[in-house]
């Protein structure tokens, strides 16, 4: 460092030689406002000249300035630039603040351009890095929930699962609606590579969305660009809004510049999000078996010559015999002759350990160490993060190692380079199976299970010493193979998956300052990863044994060449950019799997296949060349006008239609600079903004040329078929047009602030595969058609009710409402199917919001569900009634922050009003008699599972059909009365059988609307309590600061309308939302954090 100081001095000395006599010498010290430490390397220049210097090792500067110099400019990376009037002083000391502290200074906008926030004509919300790093989520996207108006997050409750992020609603009818993630100006892949089976709810693992590789510990700030005007410079990829992540760069730190941050979190399944089981009856479908009561299998197992009662193991429902401690029964684990428990009889009672025993305590360690520093020529930061997480299911673990390095180096005043590289390695074992699939243990726990099964016993006995599976669901008492379900412990320990992803992303940039107002930047960026996924089904499982391996290599390159200008002419400030972008991506994937089972048990290779292996390959190569320009003109810091334009040429559109241009214009008026308002002491800042933007979009890859699809060879005969999707060689670009207006203000000494936006956007000519009559020879074809509209309002308020020197209370409220409507689809088509899940479909329907749930509805009388003369629900004639809408009415987040001296308490409430969700768990869990509501007593005080008994006709038996009015029911009658009214509008009073499969709780006797629930919720999402130890305690140690905090996430669902699951449940990220199928419980997490700075 000494050498640098000497070198600097020489430079300064030389500067002295060339300066002329009419100068004055200015000196001073630059320190950090945060901790008072001096900052070397700060650029100090005389405004309006090229004269300048940098501070030395002790933060001191010495500058010869012209006699008429009036203002000095102090700038430093990561800190707010200051302009200071000289006012005749010769000694000027300056305190610099971190740039991210004062949100109304500078924000990062599209392409990484830093702009004064007041000049922006569009909505942009900025969050500090602590919003995602304080209470860490494995997928940092989840941490945005409730914190930004206009951003709707739906998280999967799977370990490392995907997070669906919608900004200002659905803009594409069938395409990608996820926000674009940009790190340091460079787009990062956020693909969801889950299989379509997974996203449709048919099973498979949720591998998450790729943006989750961004490490929360490395995030300096996040800016959410919501409207098209904000993101138009990114082009079509940003049509759904942008989440701009700025990573931490080196900063000067007092002390060594080393920070260690350690967090430990435990997680527990939230019982309020788990299916509630009845505890009165055991397994079976009804009295259909062999013993005299017909509720049990019946055979002499223990060899005493007397037939024994045996659990009807072949069934996966709980309409069985009532629990009775005096009934001695042979349970599933006493059926294997090789087991020591063989022939053991145990009472027929509810298990001591029900399925909730299956969930373990999750444990997660996150450790981060970063080294950073700054010197007179630049800065650097090196960071390493290790996250090791065990989920709440047995045998589940994710390990993630992230190494990142960023540096800036200024070779001369004009030439600088900066670069950043991040390497992320993710290794997972035992991700959770999802959807309607036996690999998802919740399919059984939530739908198909025998309530007599003790889970501790399942755990102790899932495999026999000779490697066979033992399960509660044997095909028969003498056929000891699973019929429908594997032992859930077998699923977790034998049929587990593993995966690995190695990813590099980063950029390198050269900046050259041509003149003081013109800078040339060349930047190239890569995002490259390979991932391998291995999925297993062991020999001895219910399904065919299998090994599937998927490899995927993703390679995306972006190069930008930009000319940036920034000039003030009299009262006008002009800045802007002209540039070009070259984008290329290659995605290559191969999937290989065994066919017909594994030959050698336990050998997981593709070649260990009974039948010839199945291999499929895909290679997607896409490119786009773009030119863009943006100019912003400001007048007197009072009025700003922005214009942008972008021209894209995309490889995915046919020649002739593949080039498209789109403009945006935005303006802002600083109201607080207006004549009358300028002097209003209560008003700190006021702004009105408006914009209009268009964004074009290209086609999904390879949608212009039809190809054949290939089947599995028959011996040596290859099989090809006409593809079921008809491609379209005449596609043209999609287009979105949007308007937005906003008003923001800060007043009463910054104790009250608001920001309100209204917007409307319409997307046209959408490129989508529409279903066609299959008699046309195809099931779908690509068309350019349709229009979708989003209108919305976003409101942010921040209030500081209390602010004293020791205590402050800050409230931030975000509230937003998006109204989405499908205006048109295609020719005569009024409905577009997104996915179907059993008897409901999720659709885009003309005149409705995107994502309506359709199925059979109740028949309503005076708004009440109506029952027929037999007492069962009447069902609408049409099978496609609209019975729900997945979009919420509004969302809100409320943050209360209390600061007392060194203690900070942060409490986030997250709320959704409206939105519907269809529950497959509830549909089956009720039908199988597993759920609590299917057992208990009826209005007469009798067991509802008992037969209906009529005064006039006696026991009606268990038959389906006519019920008995309460007035004719015998006093000992069982049965249930469904809530609703009779056709004449009077309350339903008809008792119907509800004691077995196929009766009152059966889905086929019910409209599908019976399983649609309101997805509103109010959640205590996040709480953190942080204590920064007094600096004085560490005076004689290398420790600069030490913060301890206790954190919690998803702590409490204060209200919801779904009995058996979390209303936020989703299958995956993507457009197939609004379906709960085998949803996992939500994990409540509690953590403890230590952050030490050296």
């Amino acid at each position: 460092m000494k050498k640098i100081a000497i070198f600097l001095s020489i430079l300064l000395f030389m500067g002295n030689l060339v300066s002329n006599a009419q100068t004055k010498t200015l000196t001073g010290t630059v320190t950090s406002a945060e901790d008072g430490s001096s900052i070397p390397g700060v650029s100090v220049s005389v405004k309006g000249t090229t004269l300048g210097t940098v501070t030395d090792i002790d933060g001191n500067y010495n500058l010869k300035a012209p006699g008429d110099a009036s203002v000095l400019i102090f700038s430093f990376v990561g800190m707010a630039t200051q302009e200071v009037s000289i006012d005749g002083r010769s000694s000027i000391d300056v305190q610099m603040e971190n740039a991210d502290i004062t949100v109304d200074e500078v924000v990062v906008t599209a392409l990484g351009i830093q702009r004064e926030k007041k000049s922006l004509g569009f909505g942009a919300t900025e969050l500090g890095g602590d919003a995602v790093s304080e209470v860490k989520e494995t997928n940092f996207v989840n941490s945005l929930s409730g914190k930004v108006a206009g951003v709707q997050i739906r998280q999967a409750n799977t370990m490392g699962g995907s997070s669906n992020i919608l900004i200002r609603g659905t803009t594409s009818l069938t395409g990608n609606n996820q926000a674009l993630f940009v790190v340091d100006g460079v787009p990062i892949d956020n693909a969801n590579t889950n299989t379509s089976n997974q996203t449709s709810g048919w099973g498979g693992y949720d591998y998450g969305n790729a943006a989750m590789d961004i490490n929360p510990d490395d995030i300096e700030s996040i800016t959410v660009l919501k409207g098209a005007a904000a993101s138009a410079l990114y082009g079509s990829r940003a049509a759904n809004g942008v989440v701009l992540v700025t990573t931490k760069k080196g900063k000067h730190k007092k002390g060594l510049g080393i920070t260690i941050n350690s967090q430990v979190q435990i997680s527990k399944a939230d019982k309020s999000t788990m299916p509630k089981h009845q505890k009165l009856y055991g397994g079976g479908y009804g009295p259909f078996y062999e013993d005299p009561t017909a509720y049990f299998f019946y055979a002499d197992i223990d060899g005493d010559g007397v037939e024994d009662l045996i659990t009807p193991t072949s069934e996966d429902a709980s309409w069985g015999a009532a629990f009775d401690p005096n009934l001695m029964v042979i349970h599933w684990d006493a059926l294997d002759p090789t087991s020591p428990k063989f022939g053991e009889k145990r009472p027929w009672v509810a298990p001591e350990h029900d399925y909730t025993y299956f969930f373990e305590t999750g444990l997660k360690f996150s450790n981060n160490v970063s080294f950073e520093g700054a010197h007179d020529k630049g800065t650097f930061r090196l960071s390493y993060t290790n996250v090791d997480e065990n989920g709440i299911l047995p045998n589940s673990e994710i390990k993630k190692n992230t190494l990142s390095f960023a540096a800036v180096h200024n070779f001369t005043d004009k030439l600088s380079v900066d670069a950043s590289i991040t390497y992320v390695k993710t290794d997972a074992v035992g991700r959770y199976g999802t959807g309607y699939d036996e690999g998802n243990v919740m399919q059984s726990f939530g739908q198909w299970i025998e309530t007599n099964v003790d889970f501790k016993r399942l755990k102790e006995d899932y495999i026999s010493p000779d490697g066979r599976q033992r399960t509660w669901n044997y095909a028969y008492y003498d056929e000891l193979v699973p019929i429908y379900f594997d032992n859930p412990y077998w699923v977790r320990y034998m049929n587990f998956q593993d995966d690995e992803r190695n990813r590099f992303f980063g950029y390198a940039a050269l900046n050259y300052k041509i003149t003081d107002w013109l800078t040339f930047t060349g930047r190239t960026a890569i995002d490259y990863y390979t991932q391998i996924q291995n999925e297993r089904v062991a020999v001895g499982s219910n399904g065919t044994s299998d090994f599937t391996k998927r490899t995927r290599t993703f390679n995306q390159r972006n190069t930008d060449v930009m000319l940036k200008f920034n000039k003030n002419i009299n009262e006008f400030s002009i800045n802007g950019i002209v540039g070009g972008n070259f984008y290329q991506s290659n995605i290559e994937s191969t999937t290989g799997s065994t066919v017909g089972g594994l030959i050698v048990p336990g050998l997981y290779t593709i070649s260990n296949s009974v039948s010839p292996v199945s291999v499929s390959e895909s290679l997607q190569e896409k490119g786009m060349n773009s030119a863009y320009a943006q100019a912003s003109v400001g007048y007197n810091n009072f009025v700003y006008l922005d214009v942008t334009g972008r021209y894209d040429v995309s490889s995915t559109l046919p020649d002739g239609n593949n080039a498209y241009f789109y403009p945006s214009v935005s303006g802002s008026l600083i109201l607080s600079e207006l004549g009358g308002m300028k002097d209003a002491s209560w008003l700190n800042f006021g702004k009105f903004r408006m914009n209009y933007a268009e964004v074009g979009n290209d086609a999904p890859i390879y949608s212009t040329t039809s190809t054949y699809s290939q089947g599995t060879n028959w011996g040596d005969l290859a099989l090809f078929s006409v593809n079921s999707t008809l491609q379209n060689p005449d596609l043209k670009p999609e287009r979105t047009k949007s308007y937005e207006a906003g008003l923001e203000g800060r007043m009463f000494n910054d104790r009250f602030g608001f920001d309100i936006s209204v917007y409307k956007s319409n997307s046209y000519d959408q490129i989508m595969p529409v279903l066609v009559s299959r008699s046309s020879g195809y099931t779908s074809r690509y068309v350019n058609s349709g229009e979708i509209q989003n209108k919305g309002i976003e409101l942010s308020l921040d209030v500081t009710p209390v602010r004293t020197s020791d205590f402050s209370w800050d409230i931030t409220l975000n509230w937003f409402k998006n109204k989405n409507e499908v205006i048109s689809l295609y020719e005569g088509v009024s409905n577009l199917l997104l996915t179907s899940a059993w008897d409901v479909t999720i659709n885009n329907t003309v005149g409705q919001p995107a994502g309506v749930i359709r199925g059979t509805d109740f028949v309503y009388t005076n708004g009440q569900p109506t029952v027929n003369e037999n007492g069962y629900y009447m069902i609408s004639d049409a099978e496609d009634e609209i019975i729900g809408n997945v979009n919420p009415d509004w969302n809100a987040g409320l943050i209360n922050k209390f600061t007392y001296k060194n203690i900070t308490l942060n409490v986030l409430l997250d709320m959704q009003q409206g939105g519907d969700i269809y529950s497959i768990n509830t549909k089956y869990g009720q039908a199988t008699g597993v759920y609590a509501e299917t057992a208990g007593t009826n209005v007469l005080g009798n067991p509802m599972r008992d037969n209906v008994v009529s005064q006039s006709e006696g026991d009606m038996g268990a038959h389906f059909g006519g019920g008995v009015p309460l007035s004719d029911a015998a006093s000992n009658s069982g049965g249930t009365i469904l809530p609703g009214v009779k056709a004449d509008g009077t309350p339903n009073d008809i008792l119907i059988n509800s004691g077995r499969w196929g009766r009152a709780f059966y889905y086929n006797n019910s409209p599908t609307a019976r399983y649609v629930f309101d997805a509103s919720y109010l959640k205590l999402r996040e709480v953190s309590l942080a204590y920064t130890l007094p600096k004085a305690w560490f005076n004689n140690t290398p420790i600069q600061n030490l913060t301890l905090s206790a954190v919690g996430r998803n702590l409490w669902i204060i209200s919801k309308n779904t009995e058996h699951f979390d209303p936020e449940s989703g299958l995956s990220s993507g457009n197939k939302q609004g379906i709960e199928s085998g949803a996992y419980p939500t994990a409540r997490t509690f953590g403890f954090n230590v952050k030490i700075g050296f």
Binding site: Y285, F288, Y289, F297, S314, E315, K414, L415, A508, Y512, F520, G522, I526, N542, G543, T544, F582, Y583, Q584, V595, G596, S611, E617, S618, E621, K622, G623, N625, S650, S651, L653, P654, I701, Y702, T705, S706, T707, Y708, Q710, T712, W714, L717, L719, F720, S721, V722, L726, L771, S773, R774, S776, G777, G828, V829, N831, L833, W838, H959, G998, N1004
Partner: protein, 477 residues
């Protein structure tokens, strides 16, 4: 300073060009074929065809339930005629249109576009005729399920995404004319698809008999609605040469997943037990003393017991007869059309006084005997059975209806059609339903109303509705 500027710009360009180029890729999928050998389309269509005719999937072919051969164990929705949950009509229609006929059409257009002369031209003509047989058969399956269907405007891809529906009787007439020209254009002294033909190994003579037998089936279906057309079709098919004893279109699976029999696929590959023999057929065979019962079903506690058809409750797989090992074999054949069916049609034709070279009783006996022998019982057993259950000319619809139904046990689609036409055997209405609730038609695909609204509306209006109770034009009683 100037030099630094140039150096930096040069550096920038180097690393720009080094990593990204501005040439755009061509948007042609390098991993998918844009041209394929025509045989690959044919073989694929043939497999799809056999699969769909033979399928027992609850998602795409409920015919074994409709004919009441089988009952479902625990999940009995389809046996109680709920076809909506799984979009069964959609899959049934899609399997024929898209997976069979479209590939045949594509193959035919490739063949027609090739210049060939001499023997190659004759082979090409044979290939086109062979594919006509499968197309005609498939369209008949579609008409027999739905009634009026898209036909003349079907399979036109982007030219017509919402084809109009044609009248079912008109389609039948056209199918008869198409199958007739296919028969006449086959030259069995030349080959066709060779080893790509996994049904007949490229043997055109066999295809010709199959074609004539398909024509026979088309013809007899019209017996009650257009007797003269039926007579002429049946007689001309007969004289063209139909399947004889021991012959048939039997499609043997190669036994390698996924090319396995549907029952093996369900019980062994999917490892499930959702099916039981229905009491309807088990009771009837018990009653008639049918020797095939032990070939079709296993015993439960020394007896043949079928599950109650259409019960609104679960029935345990372990408490009833099950299926014999023959059905459980991976290679077990799909029966597309074979001699017993031909002989039953000829028996009916003779009974109706048409000229088919034999008497009704002879053909009836020959049909029953051929089926019994096919199921590996002895001729003596067949004779004894026929002695006990002799042909009853006075009640020929019942005699033929019941015996044909038993013989068509492995051909659910045809069995359901012939039950509707002959009105025998007497089936069992599911619990809480009436006889009239047993479907005589499949509802149109559920999304057709949405995707092809004009065509659908016109068809529903022409048919008098879209219910399962709407009788087809050939279903006259």
């Amino acid at each position: 300073m100037k030099s630094i500027k140039y150096i930096s710009i040069a550096l920038m360009l180097i690393f720009t060009i080094g990593i990204t180029s501005c040439d755009l890729p061509d948007n042609q999928n390098p991993k998918a074929a844009t041209e394929v050998p025509v045989n690959t389309l044919f073989t694929n269509a043939l497999i799809s065809f056999a699969n769909q005719v033979n399928s027992s999937s609850v998602n795409s072919n409920p015919s074994r339930l409709l004919a009441q051969y089988w009952q479902e164990t625990t999940y009995f929705d389809e046996a109680r005629y709920n076809f909506q949950d799984r979009g069964i009509s959609d899959s049934y229609s899609s399997a024929f249109y898209k997976d069979v006929i479209m590939d045949l059409k594509e193959a035919a257009s490739i063949i027609s576009a090739t210049d060939a002369t001499g023997s190659l031209a004759i082979e090409n003509a044979n290939k086109l005729a062979v594919m006509e047989v499968m197309s005609v058969y498939s369209f008949q399956c579609l008409v027999d399920a739905f009634g009026n269907i898209p036909y003349s405007e079907a399979l036109m891809g982007s030219e017509n995404s919402s084809p109009s529906y044609d009248d079912a009787a008109t389609i039948y007439a056209d199918l008869l004319s198409r199958i007739s020209s296919a028969i006449s254009s086959m030259d069995d002294s030349y080959g066709s698809f060779g080893s790509a033909d996994i049904l007949f190994g490229g043997d055109v003579a066999s295809w010709k008999k199959f074609a004539a037998s398909v024509k026979l089936r088309l013809g007899i279906r019209l017996a009650d609605v257009d007797a003269s057309a039926a007579k002429s079709a049946v007689e001309s098919a007969y004289s063209a040469g139909v399947f004889e004893a021991g012959e048939g279109a039997l499609f043997y699976y190669n036994g390698v997943v996924p090319h396995v029999n549907t029952i093996y696929s369900h019980f062994s590959v999917s490892n499930r037990k959702d099916w039981l023999p229905a009491n309807t057929i088990v009771d009837k065979m018990n009653e008639l003393g049918d020797p095939r019962i032990g070939k079709y079903f296993t015993q439960y506690e020394g007896e043949y017991i079928g599950a109650i058809y259409g019960l609104n409750g679960a029935q345990s797989y372990n408490n009833f007869s099950n299926f014999t090992d023959r059905f459980m074999a991976a290679t077990f054949e799909a029966d597309l059309l074979s001699y017993p069916e031909v002989a039953f049609i000829l028996a009916e034709a003779a009974q109706r006084g048409w000229s088919v070279g034999g008497t009704a009783e002879d053909y009836f006996n020959s049909a029953v005997k051929a089926s019994i022998v096919y199921w590996e019982c002895t001729e003596a057993e067949a004779d004894a059975y026929l002695a006990a259950n002799a042909y009853d000319a006075a009640n020929w619809k019942e005699s033929i209806g019941v015996q044909k139904w038993i013989a068509l046990y492995n051909q659910g689609v045809e069995a359901w059609a012939e039950w509707r036409r002959l009105d025998y055997p007497i089936l069992n209405p599911p619990e809480d339903m009436t006889y009239a609730d047993i479907p005589v038609r499949m509802p149109y695909p559920y999304d057709e109303e949405e995707l092809n609204p004009d065509g659908y509306a016109a068809a529903v209006s022409a048919m008098g509705g879209d219910d399962m109770s709407i009788k087809l034009f050939w279903d006259k009683n």
